[in-house]
Amino acid sequence: MLQKKICMLGAFGVGKTSLVRRYVQSLFSDAYLTTVGVKIDKKTVTVGNETVTLLLWDIAGEDDVSPIRMSYLRGAAGYLLVADGTRAETLDIASSIQSRVKAEIGTVPFLVLLNKADLQESWEIGRDAMHGLEQAGWSVVRTSARTGAGVEEVFEELAKRMVS
């Protein structure tokens, strides 16, 4: 069976674990539990005529003193760069991570997720910033692990890009 490794990357507290949990288990919790190290979840999907097992590497978020361990990325077929739409600085961190990932594993499919789309009143990332990323060729999608909005779609889209 075909297996594809997907890494969840981004600053701490942006909702990477919640997105995986929403996608794999259809669950969400408001309680924030930080991730240390890495945890692997699996989900089997069908892409065209192909059955693919996605291996979702939920990797500890980056902070000022602990950059993401690039060793975790080896063998990744794609990744999701997650930013928190209510914390504009997490988009800069996502951008920085992307540069390092590209240097480490080369060009593989990825999507940018602006998570916490349900918190519109606190939203900080404007249309101009999104437009700028899209101009650079990035695929930017608003998601909400709380409501599930956009979650299934981004994993499916990444799976398609990895298999094609």
């Binding site: 069976m1 297996q3 490794k5 701490f12 507290g13 924030y32 539990l33 930080t34 240390v36 190290g37 890495v38 945890k39 692997i40 699996k42 291996l55 500890a60 902070d63 361990r69 060793s71 975790y72 080896r74 063998g75 990744a76 077929a77 914390r87 606190s122």
Partner: protein, 404 residues
């Protein structure tokens, strides 16, 4: 290798084995699992099968093989059994050794520390955002307050200027009102506009040695526009500024005024007026009205209750139609008597309960014996204010009294 005696080296190995739950796996060059050992059950890996592809059974190996370097470490990997392991990979000729060491305790401690640190960081970031928003809101409010203060200051300056101009205009309106006269008959008046400038005005003067003109007009509305029109109309009458008009004939005077003051030429303003000519020798009063309230004649001495008569005359307000026609009426006044000419604001008075003073009630007030001649008009004003329930009336209060 450590330069230690064999006994101590074995002790160290046993220590690591007992504390770290050592487990190992051997993968050949085809990436097939060929051997395993140690505490695999501790990591939930007891069911791995030899001679099967390694990555299908051990997801953390996906994409890692073959190892490009001789040693590789995956830190803090959460395993299927819930334990957390550091996974050490070693390349050995064609094969790869995988050694798992338990770090569950360290992972838990690190998670607690990191959780507190991140919670604090997120809180401080949220606080900083709130503070920034508050500061921005405060800045906006301060700016808005400054603009409001400036606007208020400008408005105050404008208001004060307009107030000064209104006071000047009010003084002018009062200045052109004639002074009371006492002989050969008495004429006096009371004028209280409801705002600084009302729409009422009046006047009286000798047309010739025998005939005395008396008039009172009320322009619709209040304020500057109404006051300007009322002053203009009064000045026209006082100066005889209606060419070809015989001022002894009230019907002619009103017709000429109507031609001169059509509302389309005067900002859509019209006015009512009562104009009378009193012949002192005979007591004959000739008068006409343009939609104005009928004056009331009170016969009898002022100290006694008098008989009242209304001096009605037909005619539409001045300015409404150029085809308007006016007709004079005549009445002979017999002394002692008092003629009251007034605007509708004198008797159309609203009470606090919403009802209005009836005309008969007003006539009754006029017919009462006046305690002192000079205070009769003041008493009428007092009646109006007490009935209305406030010192400021809804309309101009203008009344003329001719006493013979």
């Amino acid at each position: 290798m450590l330069d230690l005696p064999t006994r101590i080296s074995h002790w160290l190995l046993e220590l690591v084995r007992s504390q770290r739950a050592v487990a190992h796996l051997l993968i050949d060059g085809r990436h097939v699992l060929v051997a395993s050992g140690g505490d695999l059950d501790h990591y939930g890996l007891s069911d791995v099968e030899l001679q099967r592809p390694a990555a299908e059974q051990l997801p953390f190996l996906e994409g890692l093989l073959p190892l490009p370097e001789s040693a590789f470490l995956l830190r803090s990997m959460e395993m299927p059994g819930g334990r957390v392991a550091d996974i050490h990979l070693f390349a050995e000729q064609d094969a790869t050794w995988v050694v798992l060491l338990d770090v569950t305790v360290e992972h838990g401690e690190a998670q607690k520390t990191q959780q507190k640190a991140y919670d604090m960081t997120l809180l401080s970031q949220r606080e900083a955002r709130l503070r920034a928003r508050l500061e921005a809101a405060h800045k906006e409010l301060t700016a808005a307050h400054g603009e409001l203060a400036a606007s208020r200051e400008a408005l105050l300056i404008t208001h004060n200027r307009l107030q000064r101009e209104l006071r000047d205009a009010e003084q002018y309106v009062r200045a052109i009102l004639p002074a009371p006269i006492a002989a050969p008959f008495a004429v006096d008046w009371l004028f209280v506009p409801c705002t600084e400038l009302g729409g009422d005005s009046f006047g009286y003067h000798w047309i010739d040695a025998e005939h005395f003109a008396i008039y009172l007009l009320d322009v619709c509305g209040h304020g500057v526009g109404s006051a300007l029109l009322s002053v203009a109309a009064c000045n026209t009458l006082r100066s005889g500024g209606l060419p070809g008009t015989n001022f002894l004939l009230p019907e002619q005077v009103l017709s000429s005024l109507n031609q001169a003051f059509q509302m389309e030429n005067h900002a859509d303003l019209y006015f009512t007026i009562w104009y009378g000519v009193y012949h002192h020798e005979t007591g004959r009063l000739r008068y006409a009205s343009a939609g104005h309230p009928a004056p009331i004649l009170v016969s009898g001495a002022s100290g006694t209750r008098g008989d009242t008569q209304t001096l009605s005359a037909q005619g539409p307000p001045v300015g409404m139609s150029p085809r308007a026609r006016y007709r004079s009426e005549e009445r002979t006044l017999v002394a002692p008597a008092r003629l009251f000419v007034f605007s509708d604001g004198v008797f159309e008075i609203g009470r606090p309960d919403g009802t209005m003073v009836a005309v008969d009630e007003f006539r009754d007030v006029l017919s009462r014996p006046a305690a002192e001649a000079g205070s009769e008009l003041e008493a009428l004003l007092r009646f109006a204010r007490e009935t209305h329930g406030a010192d400021v009336l809804e309309d101009d209060f203008s009344i003329l009294r001719l006493t013979i």
